[in-house]
């Protein structure tokens, strides 16, 4: 309805000199910055998405940007920024040997989402970290990062939730592909290993049988043993990766049943592959070439992800006020579900239905590997994996070792006021003091198991870890006091976060608190030899037990944390949040396998919605109130951020031109009011002219006033040359008609004459209009020929807003019980009719002809509603017996 560039345009022309002088203040939830934000100096031209990787060979490196050409990023130092991005990831997970388990354990780790600001570069970024599995990589994981980079800090903060939802989808896509590729790779490796074992066994047999073991025999035996071990390990890994989705479900029994058969099946399928002998000593990691991102998650999924990222970039690249306005607009339109079909673009209130963005089984040929499990929306893991996610450790040494500010990984400051806003929406916000945090899951033999010696610190960090696992948590890294890490403090300051946490506790208890042993980063570093690489911002010098002093130290670091500022996300429209996207986290927690089973019907309903038009409309509002989180997080459906230009009936540009032409019509023709009145009151308006282009232009312009019957399209016929019939008037409300000078032409005119009570005729060649008189007041405002509005798009908006007002009146009239039904038993029809009229004239303040407009709209509403609910309502033509007048210029 209201699109932001128009607001901008409007503001630029008229309001900049005296900003907001006379306007009554809008309710806060609707307030949108009137002016486009002034771009802070930045080295890049516009927003872009940066995909980067922490390579174990070369450290952080940028991989690609969206859009791909360098124009967006400009002279911006991608390498440097990638370094900054990758160093934020405190939650990376690794594979290792957890205590009590003999084999490496894969973790299905939740992505982390943070905001990063760099005031020096003028860059702010939403940073989305994810890990992909790679058999050849250290710990089998490769950390990656998707970042939305913008110069507008407010945009990043304001759109955090939306961005997070979108990026989660993209990340899910990547990870799904990766799991397939990884499973494939494991299978290959297993075959190699088995082959190797066979070869070794054979060799062993060939060894001369002697009484005592020769060193050669021992060596062989060792080799064999290590291969055996390796096989077991890999098989275990394969099992883990395959069982991935099952682990996310509570009813894990089905996993056992189904996991086995296909394992047996999959080998015959891969008969074409020739196994290779694996040498005992594998190559050093520096020698081998690491897989590219495409290889890691196979091409199909990679391309899908790229498409999604491109879409995200398209959606968000506009100015913040544009984004906010269109979001507010969409949210508001959704509230008017009953009336929206009349004048709104169907797109604005229809749920955007994006089909399952990628087909799980496509492009890989690995359908055996993904039997039933992967067919489910991959969003699942974002719920349950959070449970398994990993505690945060806080390292003080980082600050000490990298005192230079530019090398600091993260310094984010949150604004208290904003925090409160976001808390109200049920999100948890982490305020961390640290530069660096890391999550560790592996168990090092050299370290004592912390579970057996729970230190106060461990308890504390465990509590912190609980905080992090809440869905959609926003971690704003910043400097603050050490006390804030104590859970009690969270409880005190952010009450809503507590509830959420409590509900998580349940989950944890059910689903695996045991997965949360806490280890320091130190452990990891020592085990995994990270220390070799200096680029790694986390150094090995720190050790466990330093936390307490570290906190104290850090509190002194506050000063230089200030220039890298990122505020926590403000709420664009809090009021609406309550109504429309309530209970994000709570819902997520409550998300259970039941909802999973619901996923498919929901999906189908959405399909119905698009096809049959009628129904899912209803779903949508309900969906908004109770399972928004599902919808927004599921990769299948996202309604939150449809790209504005994608699916309108009229594109922005067309709207603009229609508005412009309508404006011209109003200025040019003194009888614009009666003509528009005809359209609004359901009387067909015929535009008669010789030249097709001119007629069509006017038809398009005036079509903005035509109410639709239903959600399909407007009853507008742009151009016709044949004589009209009564059916046409039932079907079309605005018709462009060719004037022909010939016998057939006179026939056309005859039929017009005959049906003159159903049509108004606007002759644009002779500039006359024959139509009923209009004496109302509404159109004076809607179509004021002395209006100050100059731009087409602004006028379009103006029209939309007045029409919306009108719709709400029609809505009130239609759905007011006592206006249509008797209050008492004895009430006569006349009394009710009088009450109706009083309501229209006195309450709604409608003058004579305006009443008819509302009555017509009300009739459309009724028919639409009855149609929606399945009662067969055929289209009808309503008309009045009113005399027409001939208007001339």
């Amino acid at each position: 309805m209201i699109s932001a560039p128009d607001v901008v345009a409007f503001a630029r022309e008229e309001a900049r000199e005296e900003p907001c002088a006379d306007f009554p203040a809008l309710p806060e939830e609707y307030s949108v910055p009137l002016f486009p934000s002034r771009r802070p100096p930045a080295k890049f031209a516009r927003d872009f998405i940066l995909v980067s990787e922490f390579s174990e060979q070369v450290g952080p490196q940028p991989l690609l940007t969206v859009p791909e050409d360098g124009r967006a990023s400009g002279t911006f130092d991608l390498n440097y920024f990638a370094l900054r991005l990758m160093s934020v990831d405190y939650q990376a997970s690794f594979v290792g040997h957890p205590p009590g388990s003999a084999y490496p354990k894969l973790n299905f780790v939740r992505d982390s989402k943070v905001v990063l600001g760099d005031s020096k570069e003028g860059a702010f970024a939403y940073v989305h970290h994810l890990t992909l599995y790679d058999l050849e990589a250290r710990g089998f994981v490769r950390p990656f990062c998707l970042a939305y980079v913008s110069a507008d800090e407010r945009k990043i903060m304001g759109q955090f939730r939306e961005l997070s939802a979108e990026f989660s989808r993209a990340s899910e896509c990547l990870k799904t592909g990766n799991r397939k590729a990884f499973a494939h790779e494991l299978e290959k490796k297993l075959r190699d290993l088995r082959y190797t074992r066979g070869v070794l066994l054979h060799q062993e047999m060939e060894l001369p049988k002697q009484g005592c073991y020769t060193s050669q025999a021992i060596e062989k035996a060792n080799e064999l043993a290590s291969v055996e071990r390796s096989i077991i390990e890999h098989r275990d890994l394969l099992q883990q990766i395959r069982s991935y989705p099952y682990r996310k479900r509570r009813d894990s029994d089905c996993q056992l049943d189904e996991a086995e058969p296909w394992e047996a099946n999959c080998y015959p399928r891969r008969a074409s592959y020739t196994p290779q002998f694996i040498k005992a000593k594998s190559a050093k990691c520096f020698d081998k070439k690491l897989k590219t991102l495409e290889e890691l998650c196979d091409l199909y999924f990679f391309n899908q992800t790229l498409d999604q990222l491109t879409q995200i970039e398209k959606t968000y690249r506009g100015d913040l006020c544009y984004l906010l306005t269109s979001q507010t607009d969409r949210a508001l339109v959704k509230q008017q579900l009953t009336t929206a079909f009349l004048f709104e673009d169907a797109s604005a209130w229809q749920e955007k239905f994006s089909d399952n963005p990628y087909d799980e089984n496509m492009g890989t040929g690995l359908d055996i590997i993904t039997p039933k499990a992967l067919e489910e929306p991959p969003s699942l893991d974002s719920y349950k994996s959070s449970v398994e996610s990993v505690p945060i450790k806080i390292e003080q040494e980082v600050a000490q070792e990298k005192p230079e500010e530019t090398k600091r990984t993260e310094q984010l400051e949150c604004l208290d006021t904003d925090l409160k806003g976001s808390v109200s929406s049920g999100e948890s916000i982490e305020v961390l003091r640290t530069e660096m945090s890391a999550t560790v899951l592996n168990h090092s033999e050299s370290q004592p198991c912390l579970q057996s010696f729970p230190s106060p610190q461990a308890v504390r960090s465990k509590a912190v870890s609980r905080r992090t696992i809440s869905e959609d948590s926003i971690e704003v890294l910043s400097t603050c006091t050490s006390e804030s890490l104590i859970p009690e403090d969270f409880k005190a300051s952010y009450p809503s976060a507590i509830n959420e946490e409590e509900s998580y506790v349940d989950n944890e208890e059910e689903c695996g608190l045991h997965l949360l042993p806490n280890f320091s980063l130190q452990d990891l570093i020592q085990t995994e030899n990270y220390a070799e690489e200096n680029i790694v911002p986390v150094d090995s010098a720190c050790c466990i037990g330093h936390e307490s002093s570290y906190f104290l130290d850090l509190s002194t670091d506050q000063e230089y944390a200030h220039d890298d500022v990122v505020s926590s996300p403000p709420q664009p429209y809090k009021q609406l949040d309550q109504g429309i996207h309530v209970n994000f986290s709570v819902e997520d927690v409550a998300y259970s396998s039941d909802s999973v089973s619901e996923a498919v019907p929901l999906h189908e309903q959405d399909v119905n919605y698009l096809i049959g038009g009628g129904e899912a409309n209803r779903v949508s509002l309900e969906e908004h109130s109770d399972s928004t989180s599902y919808r927004s997080n599921a990769s299948t459906i996202s309604d939150r951020t449809p790209s504005p230009a994608q699916h309108s009936h009229l594109s922005e540009r067309q709207k603009k031109r229609a508005g412009q032409n309508a404006l011209r019509f109003i200025r040019q023709y003194p009888f614009a009011h009666p003509a528009i009145y005809c359209l609004l009151s359901g009387r067909t308006l015929l535009i008669l002219g010789e030249k097709e282009a001119i007629v069509k232009k006017l038809v398009t312009a005036l079509s903005i006033f035509v109410p639709s019957y239903d959600k399909t399209s407007k009853p507008v016929k742009q151009w016709t040359t044949s004589p009209l019939h009564i059916m046409d008037f039932q079907k079309w409300k605005l018709i462009g008609l060719q004037r022909v000078v010939s016998p057939t032409g006179s026939n056309v005119l005859h039929s017009l004459n005959r049906y003159s009570r159903y049509v108004s005729v606007l002759d644009i060649d002779s500039k006359t209009l024959r139509c009923p008189l209009y004496k109302g007041t509404l159109l004076l405002r809607l179509a004021d020929h002395r209006t100050q509005i100059k731009r087409g798009s602004t006028y379009y908006m103006h029209v939309q807003s007045i029409l919306t007002q009108l719709c709400s009146k029609a809505f009130l009239y239609t759905f007011c019980h006592h206006l249509h039904l008797p209050i008492g038993a004895k009430e006569s029809e006349e009394t009710i009719a009088r009450r109706r009229m009083n309501f229209l004239t006195l309450r709604l303040g409608l003058a004579s002809e305006d009443v008819k407009i509302v009555l017509y709209l009300a009739e459309l509403l009724k028919m639409h509603y009855l149609q929606e609910t399945g009662r067969g309502v055929q289209p009808v033509l309503r008309f009045d017996y009113v005399p027409s007048l001939l208007y001339k210029i």
Partner: protein, 515 residues
């Protein structure tokens, strides 16, 4: 504007056509004199037209095209009503499109259903409230010639109402209205069945064509008459004392049904009397009340008969030419075709409402006089007329319009005669002369009431063949333009929809529709 053409067909039959333009519509139609079929140029394909006719039609339309600017309305003596029709309740219409040829028949099945049939041989069943198409009856290969409803009766085993349809393919098919099935097809007729009559009292039905056949509810042939040499029975009605009046050509023949006595199952039909009072073919036949019936012929005779002893109670033949002499003077060169045929009439027991030519007449049986009339009610022949309970008359015509009239008592008719309402009758062009003439005429005829136009329904683009009136739902019209239109009271429909809406709301329990 009308042309009359005499053409000789290949079989050397002289066919007289009139080619005329439906005023204001721009539709040129042609009509074979004496035949009810009217084809209009604009809509029906040209191939149906004989070539000379087509030429004339084209010429006529060309003439019209040039004349059009001068204003068609002034030339027409037909009463017109402006766009402001405060008494016209029909402010909502719904077009039902299913047929693909002329729709000729509409029959009411019950309070909410009706059937339509026409030249495409298909019968459709409709819901008058929603406009929904309930059934499609496919079975006839040629046009339907007669349709009748056999209402449900509790005595026989058939609870569902039946529809009987007769067609030019010499069959009669019986359909079940509730299940939409074809019950039976009867195809041993020698010629086309032209009329059907249901004797509900006796649970019998009749087919009339070249012979009269009597059937029972079980669809068994009970009895039949001998073959009529003439064209056959065109229409028939039931009379008291188990008699039937059937119109064969100019004659009216009374048949008597012999009801079987206790034991024997012998039905029989006897010709009792032949009434030859009409000078031309009998076009319409109607029961007025228990004791009287009326018949009308192509030359405009109206005869009122006693239903018991079949004597002529009244004979009227001149009321169609009340003002024909000055009419012929006005139309100078083109011969004005004076439609005088009694097309259709209806009755409310006291009066006969006749559609004669282009006019409508109200004939009072007590005073045996025309008490009100509208000589040129339409631009061309009136095809159907009906009386509504509220003193209203509805008529439809070949000109494609339906008009609603109101009978108004005229107390001081001399003063009333010059009122604006009457002024309108004659249009603006001849306002000076005609009122006085009409006044004189009225005094001559002692007209006590007047028929005032209170509204017209424009929607069809060709001849409106017939209409049905549903007191609860409005009017259904069918036309040669293949369409059926439901005309409804917009106010009432709006209220109904509101009621539906709130019902639905209550069902759903919330504003938002649910599944």
């Amino acid at each position: 504007m009308t042309f009359r053409l005499r053409l000789r067909s290949r079989k050397s039959r002289l066919l007289v056509y009139s080619v005329f333009e439906t005023a204001g519509s721009g539709v040129v139609s042609c009509r074979q004199l004496g035949a009810p079929v009217c084809s209009s140029f604009a809509l029906i394909g040209r191939k149906e037209w004989p070539k000379p006719l087509l030429l004339v039609a084209l010429m006529l339309r060309w003439l019209l095209g040039s004349r059009e600017q001068q204003g068609q309305q002034e030339k027409s003596p037909v009463q017109t009503i402006g766009e402001e029709q405060t008494h016209n309740p029909y402010t909502e219409l719904q077009v039902l499109k299913a047929h693909h040829d002329i729709v000729r028949f509409l029959v009411k099945i019950d309070d909410y259903r009706f059937a339509s049939a026409g030249d495409d041989g298909i019968v459709y069943l409709w819901d008058v409230q929603t406009g929904e198409r309930l059934f499609e009856f496919l079975g006839h290969t040629q046009q339907i010639t007669a349709i009748a409803v056999f209402p449900s009766s509790d005595t026989s085993g058939e609870p569902n109402p039946l529809i009987l349809t007769a067609s030019s393919d010499k069959t009669v098919i019986i359909w079940d209205c509730d299940s939409g099935r074809q019950v039976q097809q009867i195809s041993d007729f020698h010629s086309t069945v032209k009329c059907l009559a249901v004797l509900q009292r006796l649970d019998l039905w009749l087919t009339g064509g070249s012979e009269l056949r009597l059937w029972n509810r079980k669809l068994e042939l009970v009895s039949e008459t001998s073959h009529f040499t003439d064209s056959g029975i065109s229409t028939m009605i039931e009379l008291p004392k188990n008699c039937i009046a059937a119109a064969i050509g100019k004659d009216l023949i009374i048949f008597k049904l012999l009801i079987p006595t206790d034991e024997s199952d012998n039905w029989d039909i006897h010709e009792v009397k032949c009434l030859s009072a009409h000078q031309d073919n009998i076009r319409s036949l109607v029961n007025v009340n228990e004791l009287t019936f009326a018949s009308g012929s192509l030359v405009g005779e109206l005869i009122v008969w006693d239903a018991l002893d079949w004597t002529v109670l009244a004979y009227e033949c001149s009321f169609w030419d009340t003002s024909s002499h000055h009419e012929s003077m006005q139309e100078i060169k083109l011969q004005k075709q004076n439609e005088i045929s009694v097309q259709h009439f209806t009755t409310d027991g006291k009066c006969v409402f006749a559609a004669i030519g282009r006019g409508i007449y109200v004939y009072n049986l007590e005073v045996k006089r025309v008490i009100a009339y509208q000589r040129t009610a339409h631009d061309s022949s009136v095809l159907h007329i009906a009386k509504l309970p509220n003193r209203q008359i509805i008529s439809c015509s070949e000109d494609g319009s339906v008009r609603i009239w109101e009978i108004r008592e005229r107390k001081h008719f001399s003063a009333e005669a010059v009122s604006t309402g009457f002024f309108n009758v004659w249009g603006f062009g001849k306002a000076g002369k005609q009122p006085s003439q009409t006044l004189k005429k009225m005094q001559d005829n002692a007209v006590q009431s007047s028929v005032e136009l209170i509204g017209d329904l424009i929607g069809h683009s060709s001849a409106v063949q017939m209409f049905l009136y549903f007191p609860e739902h409005g009017l259904v019209t069918c036309s040669a333009d293949h369409l059926i239109i439901l005309w409804k009271d917009g106010e009432r429909e709006s209220r109904l929809r509101s009621l539906n809406l709130f019902e639905k709301l209550e069902e759903n329990g919330s504003l938002l529709p649910r599944f």
